[in-house]
């Protein structure tokens, strides 16, 4: 099929198999490798992107569901002021160790902060429920997201 959609604010038109996973379209067809594959089965959240304003696992989204959609990936988000705020907080608060889960965590953080711009710890943990991290034990990820909310007051 011919897939026309918007990725990180840019209109794209590519020829793809209708069942091709959004994750592969992003990583292999569009060379946007910020989005990671941790499991390929919807369990880890490393592949999180925002489609039409909603946080989704891109490994579970087929091309057909992307037609006409607006997709935001970590590659795009991190160039915005909000994205920079979040990624900077991950460095300040050590929210990333190996970093493989982190792009997904950053997307989850953006989705959460859009809903609640000053989340308490419980709300942050709820917001991260679909994202697995094996390194940090999550505490410093929570710290990073709360730090971004605080320093970035007014951005969300």
């Amino acid at each position: 099929m011919k897939l026309e959609f918007t990725v990180n604010g840019e209109a794209r038109s590519i020829e793809v198999d209708p069942l091709r996973r959004l994750l592969d379209i992003l990583r292999d067809d569009l060379a946007l490798t910020g989005t990671k594959e941790g499991c390929g089965e919807g369990e880890c959240g490393a592949c999180s992107v925002i489609v039409e304003g909603k946080l989704v696992n891109s490994c579970l989204v087929p091309a057909t569901q992307c037609a006409g959609a607006e997709v935001l990936t970590v590659d795009g988000l991190s160039e915005s002021e909000r994205g920079e705020m979040i990624t900077e907080s991950f460095a300040l608060m050590h929210g990333a160790q190996c970093g493989f889960c982190t792009p997904g965590m950053v997307m989850a953080a953006e989705a959460l902060l859009r809903e609640q711009n000053d989340p308490d710890e419980e709300a942050v943990r709820e917001g991260l429920a679909g994202n697995i991290c094996r390194c940090t034990g999550y505490d410093m990820i929570v710290d990073a997201i709360q730090d971004a909310a605080k320093r970035g007051k007014g951005l969300w």
């Binding site: 990583r27 990671k36 994205g83 990624t87 050590h94 929210g95 792009p103 697995i132 094996r134």
Partner: protein, 739 residues
Amino acid sequence: MSITTPIPRVDAQEKAAGAAAYIADFDYATALTARFYRSDFPRGRITGRYIPELPSGYYWVDHTDVPGKNAVVLIKDDLPAFAEEEIRYRGQIIGILCGPDPLEVDRLLREVAIEYEPIEPAPTLDDGISCKGGAMHGEDNVFARLALDRGDVDTAFAGATKIVEGTYETGFQEQLYMEPQGLVSWFEGGTVVVHGSMQCPYYVKHSVEVVMGDAARTRIKAAVIGGGFGGKEDYPEIMGAPLSVAALKVGRAEPGRPLRMIFDRTEDMAFTSKRHPSRTKIRTAHDEDGTIRGIESEVTLDGGAYETYSLIVLMRAIFHSTGAYHIPNAKIRGRAVATTTVPSGAFRGFGAPQSLFSIEMHMQKCARTFGVEPLAYRRRFFQKKGDRTVTGGLLRDEVILDRLLVRLDEMSGYGEKQKRYAAEAAERRNASVVDAGSGAHRARGQGGALWRGIGISVFNHGAGFTGDGEQRIIKGKAAVHKRADDVVEIRCATTDMGQGPKTTFRKVVGAVLDIVPEEVVFVEPDTDICPDSGPTVASRTMMVVGFLLQEAAKELKATWTPGEEQTVTRAYEMPPGMAWDQNALDGDAYAAFGWGVNACEVEVDPVTYEVRVVHAWGVYDVGKAIDERVVNGQIQGGMSQALGYGAIEKLHVDETGTFLQRTMADYIIPTALDFPRTGADTIDNPYTYGPFGAKGMGEMVHDGGHMAYAAAVEQAIGAACPRIPLVPEVIMEIRNDET
């Protein structure tokens, strides 16, 4: 500014932005997809192979293509790179199929057929011990047997007024680094290159050299690593040795054509090495008042189908078998047994989390037997400076367990809660006696009130390689290199798999040279550029390699010549006074020990036996924290893994030895909601031969959470918990056995 004061993690923003390059992110545009052909039966002898006709551009590679020795060198080299005749576990590597179209590769793989004579599998420890299906290793399936003897155990037991016995068991554990294994390899101009996700580039190099023989020189490069925890210590060799053979074959036809092998999660979970399951029998001889006169301990590890690392995992297990305690008379026996499962391998802690669990749960049992509060009981046997360890080594440094415990009590309120929950438990017991007496039937527990408990664990962890291994085997080197533009580079083979050396090494070198850490360059490990610093394992990164870098930086500072290129390389030297006899396993098993105390508080649902971890805390002596936040991040992350190990991470095998938990939906690791914030702290106790006083700590953080958790559950349910993971169905079994 103190070296401990946290700085932003140097590599974190790039990672967060998705800009860091993991192996799957590299654009090897012309790469062929390479996949393993694995045995689909658990055990047997191959009698015939059918390989389909391959279209041009596709290759089949197997043991007949190995120019050197068909073996993966992992301490032992008993695992073949490609199986020849014998198959000992489902998933053993038989061949590689590669070609341009992944779907065609998969189709061709389905056409490969192997004929074999089956042999009865031996999936469990008991099957391995009884040599079910005949011995697969030697006469008795025992890969390794080790013994330690101190003092006079027989006299200790003969004079005892009481003997306490127990058997303790721990299960498999999957590392579950978030980035699956992945390597790319190619052959060009006489050199075979392997690039990818690996903890130990020189280990990969040695394993590739063995399969290559004289056919190629070797170069190994690490990419950014998405987690390891030991899981990328051995597996990149198991994967890289055969892959490099395939790269050689392809490269001879098509020079420089890369082969790309990236596992999906299913392949990774099913076939990469796991933590050794263990069973430990302990007997202690006591005086009237509970004093321990002597200990007999026998640990058995499930080594899986090939020996690989089992000997050295077993060594670390027995060296930690008396934990943080001084027990003068000890008879310790250890063995690692063959079974038809994936070869067990390296996982953070490397045998210590298993044996420390056993001794700590045994201390719980002793405390109950003698009616003493568990921490008060343990305190009577704490090791102190000047004591001899179970290997006869001398504790040269101050042991500050008492200070760690003061801090832990401040954070956790352990002392007060322990008393309170013990009283609650006693009340429950009395109430249930009354119930039984009156014949009234009530829901278990007190009308649904949660059962509470708090537990503690005390432990140590030897940092660096065993005994004189750093000097005799590893001979680590590390360099600081000053370019002509006066920019300083760190050149070592230590990889940053998330534990932080890209930040902490820069801090060490920067602090010596008065340079801002961010301006020091960390060269991504590459065996053509970086000296062999040894593997990134054994809690040796900061204490051993960091120290070499500190010393090299000091020398560079002293000889600094502006505008000139300078390289200073330092090689490891054993600290003065250390002595070790490898044959007798006698002397200083480790140059230094880190120490830790953990507490965990739980609530158990009396009907479902679901456990909620309410709080967890860890206080550690790491010598000196090079970055407080890096260290606390290790504590929080490591304790979360240990709590997962103790509480939820269930991994079982079927009747063939194949893992039953196949996906992340079946094998559950902690989410952000499972465990609470972990209280983390350290107390300084600088070590002379570590940079700025730092000791090893990367594994110790996985040494105590599971025992503190099990001890807390013991208090809550009023019964001994000698095995993990303590999932609700296990707790139910334990309760049923009690009543």
